[in-house]
Symmetry: C2
Subunit: 200 residues, 2 copies
DNA sequence: TTTTGAGTTGATATAATATAACATTCTCTC
DNA sequence: GAGAGAATGTTATATTATATCAACTCAAAA
């Protein structure tokens, strides 16, 4: 029951990405996805069509997406997809460092550091990032502040704690939202899309 | 269907704590609970018997407890309790700052800073704490490192972000667990109780 | 080419976490 | 004691996540 056009093709990439309606993303996103391709190839893991598709959906969103939101979007090109499909893919993307989980939202965002810069993070220490989460527009910004990391390393060391991983989630108002309610407390319209998930 | 003995009593405290099998905790814990009493009184909210009981259960645990673990324990003294009872109480305790939620564990711990020191945190700025979470024994330590907070404030300010709340969860090995597997990688027994929740 | 095995995905069921909505009881005030 | 507001009881359901086993894909070995 193949959906056609997946036989006897050739691609120059090491990590063939065939089958499954590719649902072509924007050029910008294809660039990022190709970068993800190369990163996976370098790690010896495969960015399959499904994984690429889901990563693409995440890149196409300006907000963190929950597993079931992702599932819903995936189903437009992939009817019959079920939760384990999404969760397995998310696990893969988390393990390869292509995405992050925002714990307090039970949602996921692409890793901007891994994909936006062309270098991979190999050889570097812990990829300890911080997330600025706007409680009004749900926009998330990933930071990687050395000062924060070193303060945490210092505190851990003082406590005799052997750090393996850290989660830093900062909730508040992004610049746009803070600006738009500067003098007053009312909600003017502003550039960011409104959240369709009630912030908790 | 009252379980008896809850009529016409008198207590000197402002925040009467009657009814419901008190399930007397240790002296140490009663001290902490009484402190919580005073804190609530000062805030004009009520630490009812149920809330006191649940906070006591949390204080009695050396590990974070999930809502359903708490429910299970509550039911020994409070048969028929249901999830909303626990979640509502947790909401109250979170709002009054008596406990914290560990997001990555979907679990809760008492706030050591609020209860261990006798001062309340009124007048102080944000109660921004950090949690060291041992992935082996599940023990959680609450820190309040000024250096971490100021690094975060600084980073937020630079990003034009108006911070309201921050979650910092540091996962790794506590001193005890790190020590016990120092040279080798095997799991010797050590002082902390083993986790009965598989760390994720 | 066929086989084979690891990795990936499909599919069904269910677990674990959390909330909605409304009824009842409690507490304080009048 | 009656009334109002807070707290709790109760039932049902929503949301998030995982377990399990079957089927398929792909790449390399035979
Ligand atoms: Zn990142
Ligand atoms: Zn915003
Ligand atoms: Zn605290
Ligand atoms: Zn430990």
């Amino acid at each position: 029951m193949g959906s056609g056009s997946n036989m006897s093709y050739h691609m120059s990439s090491m990590t063939k990405t065939p089958a499954l309606a590719p649902d072509r993303f924007s050029d910008r996103m294809e660039t990022l996805l190709n970068r993800a391709d190369r990163l996976c190839a370098a790690k010896g893991v495969r960015l399959t069509a499904l994984r690429r598709q889901i990563l693409g959906l995440m890149l196409a969103s300006d907000q963190p997406l929950g597993a079931y939101e992702l599932l819903e979007r995936l189903q437009t090109s992939h009817p019959g997809a079920a939760p384990p499909t999404v969760y397995r893919t998310l696990d893969f993307l988390l393990e390869t460092g292509l995405i992050h989980k925002i714990e307090r939202l039970s949602s996921f965002v692409p890793c901007t550091h891994t994909l936006d810069h062309d270098h991979s993070h190999e050889g570097e220490g812990i990829h300890a990032t911080q997330f600025l989460i706007c409680s009004q527009c749900s926009h998330v910004t990933e930071l990687e502040e050395p000062a924060i990391l070193s303060a945490i390393l210092e505190a851990s060391r003082n406590a005799g704690f052997r750090l393996r991983q850290s989660t830093i989630e900062i909730e508040g108002l992004c610049a746009a939202c803070a600006g738009s309610q500067a003098g007053a407390d009312k909600d003017h319209g502003h550039s960011h899309q409104e959240s369709r998930r009630t912030p908790r």
